[in-house]
Each structure stands twice: as structure tokens, then as C-alpha cells.
Symmetry: none
Subunit: 223 residues, 2 copies
Amino acid sequence: MPTAPNPPGPSDETTAPQVRVLLCDDHTVVRAGLRALLASTPGIDVVGEAATGDEALAAAAKLRPDVVLMDLHLGAGMDGIEATRRLVAEVPGTRVLVLTTYDTDADITRAVEAGATGYLLKAERPDELFAAIRAAAEGRAALSAPIADRVLERMRSPRAALTDRERDILGQLAHGLGNREIARALFISEATVKTHLVRIYAKLGVDTRSGAVAVAKEQRLIP
Amino acid sequence: MPTAPNPPGPSDETTAPQVRVLLCDDHTVVRAGLRALLASTPGIDVVGEAATGDEALAAAAKLRPDVVLMDLHLGAGMDGIEATRRLVAEVPGTRVLVLTTYDTDADITRAVEAGATGYLLKAERPDELFAAIRAAAEGRAALSAPIADRVLERMRSPRAALTDRERDILGQLAHGLGNREIARALFISEATVKTHLVRIYAKLGVDTRSGAVAVAKEQRLIP
DNA sequence: CGCGCCATCGACCGATCGGTTGAACGGGGT
DNA sequence: ACCCCGTTCAACCGATCGGTCGATGGCGCG
């Protein structure tokens, strides 16, 4: 770390140099707004902008920011999830902080699975954002309160982790097939189908096939 | 077979060169049966077989058949609908003729939406199949009688014209509720719920609640 | 005023589902 | 080598669903 002539923060962490941030959002006005907001924030430096996933990858590779502020919806082309996945894979040392307007379970879990360090909503208070950026720069998880609630809820019922076979069953289920038909389609016995279904119910937090289909469609577990 | 290359015949079958057909069915015996059946049919040439959607895509890209005979249920992996969708998208000039044992409204409409040129049942008479293959090769629609009936029926009742109440029921259904719970939630009797469900099934072309949820989610009939 | 459509309810039946317990096998990881 | 996990299967039971009769009342429409 070179000598950092940063303004003396009233807080104790004078150690923090400058957090270098890359903005990624397809809306120009949003990027401009964030840039203005962060410009007046000591300790945070916006070093670049990107409007698409590809631009974000290129810019991150070149600029090596500490944190990428990533919107999930980037219009056409690569979405924020995919961009996040590739960023964490291809640009080590850079943390991705998802900043979006959507808070669906599906988006949150997919972002986390993609390797996002944090996730917060654009509706959050600015100082929440500042804190999250600093946290992300240090590799600490940064989830805003409503997001944290959902994540914890999700943790309580360890859903998601469907096995390949369970996904097969779910796929047939979404076609409205009965247990016997699913069994025949997958060349297994009806008993096995029922066994899988019970596990699927547990993982998805439901207790009926209709509920399973609904959750599966919602979380894009099924095409 | 005479390799007569006479292009413009007035109206005889001498005009038809040879219709090149690719079979796609996960059951080996079915493929063998079709191959044998079609081998003895003048004007039709089976140029390849595929047991899965992936195989069908690869084979079609290589062989460039005029018609792909596609079963809808291909066991695990990509189903016939998805395979059809990708075939019409990725292998231009090749027509997909769905040949299956199922005749549910959902399957038919999904197949047609996926771009199938025709749809007929395995229970059909062989000459129906021959005619359908030749029709498909020329790009003409080929629907066997029972299928045509259903399609017309569907056309008569234009959209999935669900009533408000039926949409209510569907919404509760998508939460995985049972009939009794739906009844309580909407302040009606269980019997009424069942009545609505029967109508919903008819309109959506399914016969199970899971199927109804799947179709409803697909067509965005419910949030 | 009929006529059709929608919504409501009741009763019945067989088929299917949801849930449980118990068991077996093979592959991966420590 | 051991154990966990995924996958497979069997048998059983009560609850629920799917399908089918039938019936009533309200509502708009020509």
C-alpha cells in the first residue's frame, strides 16, 4: 500500500487506504448518481464504470478494483449473475457487491452462489451502502437487513441443494405426471419416485406437488 | 428404387425425390419398428436415428434430414419439446413431425409452439404416418384427426379465458394449498373448489394440479 | 322472458397421493 | 477401511384428489 493521504476519518480505521470501486449498471443515470454519491464519500474512490457484463469484466481486469458494485439486470446479454460468476473466477482479489432493486429469493441465492460478497437493495440508506462497500473490500459479508432475513430463513430450511435425480423428478412433475408415469419415464419404481418427492418437499419447504412446481418455477430450478 | 431425377411432375409421386427422415425416440424397439415400417415405403428414407434430444440435434446438423420424427418423452434430459424448439432454431430446412402416444392439450400446444410442423399419434394408421411425413417434408401442416379436433377445439375457445374466480383458485393452487384450504381461503365450499378445478383443467389442457400450476406459471396467468 | 354463463353446493367412487418405516447398494471422501 | 450420501426399492395406511352425476341462484343479453 503506498502512502495514502486520505482525509483523516474521525473513526479509528485510518488504516483503510481508499476503496477502489467499479460501477456496473446498464442505466447511465444510475451510474452517474452513484458516482456523485460516492465521490463525496471519504475512503471510496470510483475508478470506473461499466454498462454491460462484458465491459465490467474488461474494466475489472484492467483496473483491478477492490469492489464491483453490480446490478443484476443489465439489459441484453450477460446478466449480473453471470457477470458476477465470471468476475470472481477471473479477477481474483476483486469482490462483487450486488446492488439491485430486486430481492427475490431466487436472485439472492443465485447471486450468493455466483460468489457475490454482499447483496443490498438500492432502496437502502446511503450509509448502509458505504458500510457495505467497506465491508466488502475487506472480504466481509455485507447483507442489508431485509436480505439477511431472507438468507437466514433460507438457511433454516436447507433448500436449493437438489440432487440431479431430484431435478429429474421435478421436471417430470412440472409436466403434471403422476408418480407411476414419472417412474416409467425415468425407469425407476414408483416407490423411488415417492422417496425423492418427500426429499424434494423438504428441500423446497412445501408439502404438495403443486407447491413444489410453484417453487421450482419461481426459483428457475426447472426450465 | 429408381433414382429418377425428374423435377417438375404434374401431380404424381414421381415428383417426390426421397424424403430423408431422422428418427428420434428413446426406445430402441420403437425406432427399429419405425425403420422397418418406413423402409418398405417408397419415397421415404430413414437416414438416421437418435435416442436423446442431444443426439437428435447432432444427427440433424450432420445429416440435414427433411423430417425429424420426434417422440415427446425422451426419458431423462432434454424432452421432445425442447429438442423440437432447438431443432427448428438450429437446423433450418428440417421439419419436425411429432409422433407420440400422448395427446394432451398441453403437449400439443407446446409442441406446436415449439415449432413442430405436425403432430400425430403412434396409434395412427401407417398410411396416415406416410402421408404426414410427405406433407411435413413439403412444409404442410400434418395433424391426425383426433389432434386436429383438439386444436380446433382450442381455437374455438380462444385464450385460456379463465374467469376471475378460476384465477383465484389457481393462485391458491400455486401456493400448494389443498382443496379444503383453498375453500377456507376463499370462503367457499370444497365442492365448489373442485368444480372450478375441473374447469381449469379443461381450459389449460391438463388433468392434474401440478400440471395446472406449471401451465399457469408458464403462461403468466398468475404472478 | 327464456337462454347461457358463472358461481355455488352436495354426494359418491376409485385412484392417487402424502407420509412412514425399513432396507439395500455403490461411490466419494477422511 | 469406514461412513456419509445418493439412489434404489417394498409395504402399508389414511387423506386427498380426480371425475361424475346432479342441483340452485344470480347475472347480462337479445
